[in-house]
C-alpha cells in the first residue's frame, strides 16, 4: 500500500504545484512508483508545470464520473518512467468531485503506486478538503510572509479535524516546506526567519526552498525543477526534502548560504 501525501497551503501562489511536481519527480528518481494528482479542478496547472499539457485526454473528473478508466487518464512522464500524472479537469468545476469518487480513486491509486501526491487547490473549500481527505502525510507549503503563515495555520487546523485520519482518531503526519526563502532578506531582518515560522506553526521542517530563478525557468520549459537541473539550489533542496520524507536524517541547510555568507560580511561592514 502506497502513502498518500497532500501538498497544501491555504494561500495561493506559494508553490504547491511546483512542490508537488518537484517532490513527485524526486521520489520517482529513486525508483519508486509515483503519481501526482491535480485536485485543482477548473484551474489545472500541474500538467503544464510537468510538461504534459498536450497529452491530457481524460482527467480526474472523467474517472470519478465513470467516463474513463483510471488507466486511461494516467499520463506517464517521458523522462522518468515511474512518474505518472493524473490531471484535473479544466472545463468543469469542483462540485464534480464527490467524496465517494475521490475515495475510490485514491484507494485504487494507493494500491498501484508507492506514493500518491495530491496537489491541493488554494483555499479551504471543497477541492482543498477533498485533496487532504485521505492523506497520510501533509506537506504544508508556506512562504515566510504573514498571510501565508496565517493560512498555513488554518490548514494545519483542518488537517487535524477534517481528514479521514483525524476522524478515526489518528493523526496526519505534518511537515513544513518553507518556499521562496531569501536568506539575505531574512538576515537583514526584512523576512521572517526559518525559526520564526517554525515557532509559530510548530510542525517539523521538511525543507527550505530558496527563492530562485531556476523555479521559473523549469516551469517555462515544463519540467519539475528536480528534473530540469538537479544541481540547482531549489532542486538540491527538494531532493533533500524527499530524503527526509523517506525517513533519512539529513541536516537542514539554508540553501544559498554560501552566497549569504559573503553578504553577511558585507552586511556587517556596512553597519
Amino acid at each position: 500500500m502506497g502513502k498518500v501525501i497532500v501538498v497544501t497551503s491555504g494561500k495561493g501562489g506559494v508553490g504547491k504545484t511546483t512542490s508537488s511536481a518537484a517532490l513527485g519527480a524526486a521520489l520517482a528518481l529513486r525508483g519508486d512508483k509515483v503519481v501526482v494528482v491535480d485536485f485543482d479542478v477548473g484551474l489545472r496547472n500541474l500538467d503544464l508545470v510537468m510538461g504534459a499539457e498536450r497529452r491530457v485526454v481524460y482527467d480526474l473528473v472523467n474517472v470519478i464520473q465513470g467516463d474513463a478508466k483510471l488507466s486511461q487518464a494516467l499520463i506517464r512522464d517521458k523522462r522518468v518512467e515511474t512518474l505518472y500524472l493524473l490531471p484535473a479537469s479544466q472545463t468543469r468545476d469542483k462540485d464534480n468531485l464527490t467524496e465517494e469518487g475521490v475515495e475510490r480513486v485514491i484507494g485504487a491509486l494507493r494500491k498501484a503506486f508507492d506514493w500518491v501526491i495530491c496537489d491541493s487547490p488554494a483555499g479551504i473549500e471543497r477541492g482543498a478538503t477533498l485533496a487532504m481527505r485521505h492523506a497520510d502525510v501533509a506537506v504544508v507549503v508556506t512562504n515566510p510572509e504573514v498571510s501565508s503563515v496565517r493560512d498555513s495555520d488554518r490548514i494545519i487546523g483542518l488537517l487535524d479535524a477534517k481528514t479521514a485520519k483525524a476522524e478515526r482518531g489518528e493523526r496526519v503526519e505534518k511537515h513544513l516546506l518553507l518556499t521562496r526563502y531569501d536568506p539575505n532578506r531574512a538576515e537583514r531582518g526584512d523576512m521572517l526567519k526559518v525559526d520564526d515560522v517554525l515557532e509559530i506553526l510548530s510542525i517539523p521542517l521538511l525543507g527550505i526552498i530558496p527563492e530562485s530563478m531556476d523555479v521559473l525557468r523549469a516551469s517555462n520549459v515544463g519540467a519539475p525543477v528536480t528534473l530540469a537541473d538537479s544541481r540547482s539550489a531549489p532542486a538540491v533542496a527538494y531532493l533533500d526534502a524527499v530524503r527526509r520524507l523517506t525517513g533519512e536524517t539529513v541536516p537542514i541547510t539554508i540553501p544559498g548560504e554560501k552566497r549569504s555568507l559573503l553578504g553577511k560580511i558585507f552586511g556587517r561592514r556596512a553597519a
Binding site: E145, R150, D153, R154, G157, D190, M191, L192, I200, A271
Partner: protein, 87 residues
C-alpha cells in the same frame, strides 16, 4: 534604539512575527469555539425567557478575547410591559 532608527530602517520581520503570534493565538482559540457563542446565546436566552419575555432580535451576545481573560457580554432589551410575565 531611536538613534539607530535614524540611520537604518527598523527590521520589519520581528513586527511580522509578533503580529502573527498575537493573531494566531486568538484565531486558534476561536476556531474550535465558533459554535460556543451560539450555544451560550441559546441557553442564556432559554433561561431568561423562562422569567421575562424577550425579543429575540434584540439580543446581542459578544465574546471578546484578551491575552489573559476573555469577556462575555450579553446585551438584551426587556420590554417594559411584558416584564410582569413571571409574576
Amino acid at each position: 534604539m531611536k538613534i539607530f532608527r535614524i540611520f537604518a530602517k527598523q527590521a520589519s520581520a520581528p513586527v511580522a512575527r509578533e503580529r502573527l503570534q498575537v493573531l494566531l493565538a486568538h484565531e486558534r482559540a476561536s476556531v474550535g469555539n465558533s459554535d460556543l457563542v451560539t450555544l451560550l446565546r441559546e441557553e442564556i436566552l432559554a433561561v431568561i425567557a423562562k422569567h421575562v419575555q424577550i425579543d429575540r432580535d434584540k439580543v446581542n451576545v459578544k465574546m471578546e478575547r484578551g491575552a489573559k481573560v476573555s469577556t462575555l457580554a450579553v446585551d438584551l432589551e426587556i420590554p417594559l410591559d411584558t416584564g410582569a410575565k413571571a409574576a
